[in-house]
Symmetry: C2
Subunit: 353 residues, 2 copies
């Protein structure tokens, strides 16, 4: 019933001075007040603890709902005066969470809180939202714009997406994952919308310029940071009906630690997850961030994961290629045990935290 | 398809120096970028321009979705260190928008953006959310907490609610409203969550103290401001299946100008809407706010409206009393013409703006 309650950057904020333990305590305090009781007639909650979306059964349909904000990526957008990418992300971060339970997107509502509504910025946001909607075949079902100069220093942009399960499809929850399954990874487009507080701090402390490329890149650093989140809806749509597909993970805040959210009864051995490279390598080196922290903050190059029975691997990869994910490749396997391991990097995590 | 896109306080902000025209232009710029195109298979948008909730048909169910934030009411909560009321409002403002289309609430996701997560404030928010959920028989289906000290000065709290239409019920859209219908009003609990920027400015300019009552009241002014939004779900549930009920309006931002959103083909004559009294009278007098502005900013004592055929009035009032709204009474009638009139106050509005 209660889907994951993320706290944007609670992990990465440790470095930035935000009290992570206090945040966890606060969330627990809030949720501790919410009692479980029977809903309205015709409504049936579906328990799915800690997962990417809340599920509920209404009449003959099962619905998925998820909400997320773009976070401090908007501060980079503001610094560069570019808003299209944030618009795409408003859709992408939410529909990817629907994709992670195998739900087909229905529609999105967006929420923009800001000091003032600049028509040019809003037009760019709209362009991005439209791109996101097109890629995910999602409708804009409403929105809210709050002009609250006393509350906001920058612009806070988020959304809520609802999805459903077409006839014959069941939610993909990870509950059937078992040792021997194979982990297929899909490339990320960059940072997506996670780890921005840490990443921005590294840029600031290094005195780097948003308008100039980092060594090894030809794009200005700000543009590289803003690259829109890749949308994985088509991947999920292609795979959700394949019986051998047992789980999906959207690699968002928490990095590889998103995997234990699917199952706490197995060990995710990510021996093919990319080593730090490109922007991630630069961030780690420039900010002296330990690999341990990098892999639990950033996606490190893989934005979405599908877990499949080994017998379904060939078919799944073929599906993914047809759906536009030619980059799909095996990045790990499921073993007996618990937690997450990246043996080629000597990393080990106990669970989702 | 595109539900109303409100801008919190855009109206009241005129006085507070926010550029209302620019806000409208910005919203138009955003929406102008979003193209209409076919949604995913199995999904059918339901056109309902300017209304309280977006509607969409999925399989055999019609769903309603709406999103709203509490706005700068949180600044009063912060000044008083009281958060339960804001928690109630997070649910109330959204489920009341569902009630306004006759949808039964399914569930809510909440979004909290803040500088830091204070466990005591979060517990109080949770208590309020729980109260709101209980009153509206709504499930908490997820949430997002963003700790973004660089974006926020205060705490921004909002939510998204989804609802459905039980078997045999059709959305109540106002399209059948005609001259001769009667307008039934339900009491508001105070300001609810609208007009806070104007109201707070009046308090500040008058040098009034949140902790002391205004003349004519026994409750501290801050407590009076924070009074939670009344929840009208049971009223809508009781009336939505009555054939003679033709429309509902949630009197939120825009005051009585919410009525033309239901129909632009009739005139809403609100000859029984309360005259300024209590807190509203005090705000008008203390802030030298013209009645014209008061009635398009605050609810002025009526938080929800049902429009019924005159032949269904008796039955509707009986239903409402059974559902706990003993205060329900006739506040106006539908006539030929356009716009909104309050003849006893000499007020006239052209439409929803």
């Amino acid at each position: 019933m209660a889907a994951r309650r993320r706290s944007h950057g609670a992990r990465t904020y440790a470095a930035a001075g935000v009290n992570r333990k206090q945040t966890s305590r606060a969330l627990a305090a809030l949720l501790g007040q919410v009692r479980r009781r029977p809903p309205g007639q015709g409504v049936h909650p579906v328990q799915l603890k800690g997962h990417y979306a809340g599920l509920v059964r209404v009449g003959r349909e099962t619905l998925a709902i998820t909400t997320d904000t773009v976070g401090t990526k908007t501060l980079v957008a503001e610094a560069l005066g570019r808003w299209t990418e944030v618009g795409v992300d408003t859709v992408a971060i939410n529909v990817n969470d629907l994709a992670a339970v195998g739900a087909r997107p229905i529609g999105l509502v967006d929420v923009i809180s800001c000091r003032r509504a600049d028509p040019e910025a809003f037009a760019a946001l709209g362009r991005g939202i439209d791109q996101g909607l097109r890629q995910s075949r999602c409708l804009l079902l409403g929105g809210e714009t709050a002009i609250v100069p006393e509350l906001l220093q920058g612009m806070d942009v988020g959304g809520t997406a609802i999805g459903f399960f077409p006839p014959g499809r069941r939610p993909v929850t990870g509950s059937r994952i078992r040792a021997g399954d194979v982990i297929v990874g899909l490339r990320a487009n960059g940072l997506h919308s996670n780890g921005f507080t840490l990443a921005r701090r590294i840029v600031r402390d290094a005195g780097a310029d948003w308008r100039r490329p980092r060594p090894g890149s030809r794009r200005p650093l700000g543009i590289e940071f803003l690259t829109p989140t890749r949308i994985y809806v088509a991947a999920s749509e292609g795979l959700a009906d394949v019986p051998g597909v047992t789980g999906f993970a959207h690699i968002s805040g928490g990095g590889v630690r998103n995997l234990p959210r699917l199952s706490e009864k197995v060990r995710f051995v990510l021996d093919g997850w990319p080593r730090p490279s490109g922007l991630f390598e630069w961030l780690g080196r420039t900010g002296s961030v330990e690999p341990d922290e990098l892999y639990q903050t950033f996606n490190m190059g893989i934005g979405f994961v599908a877990i499949v029975r080994s017998g379904s691997l060939h078919r799944s990869l073929a599906w993914l290629r047809r759906a536009g994910y030619a980059d799909a490749r095996v990045v790990g396997r499921v073993a007996r045990g618990r937690g997450v391991a990246l043996p080629h990097l000597g990393l080990e995590y106990s669970g989702y935290a």
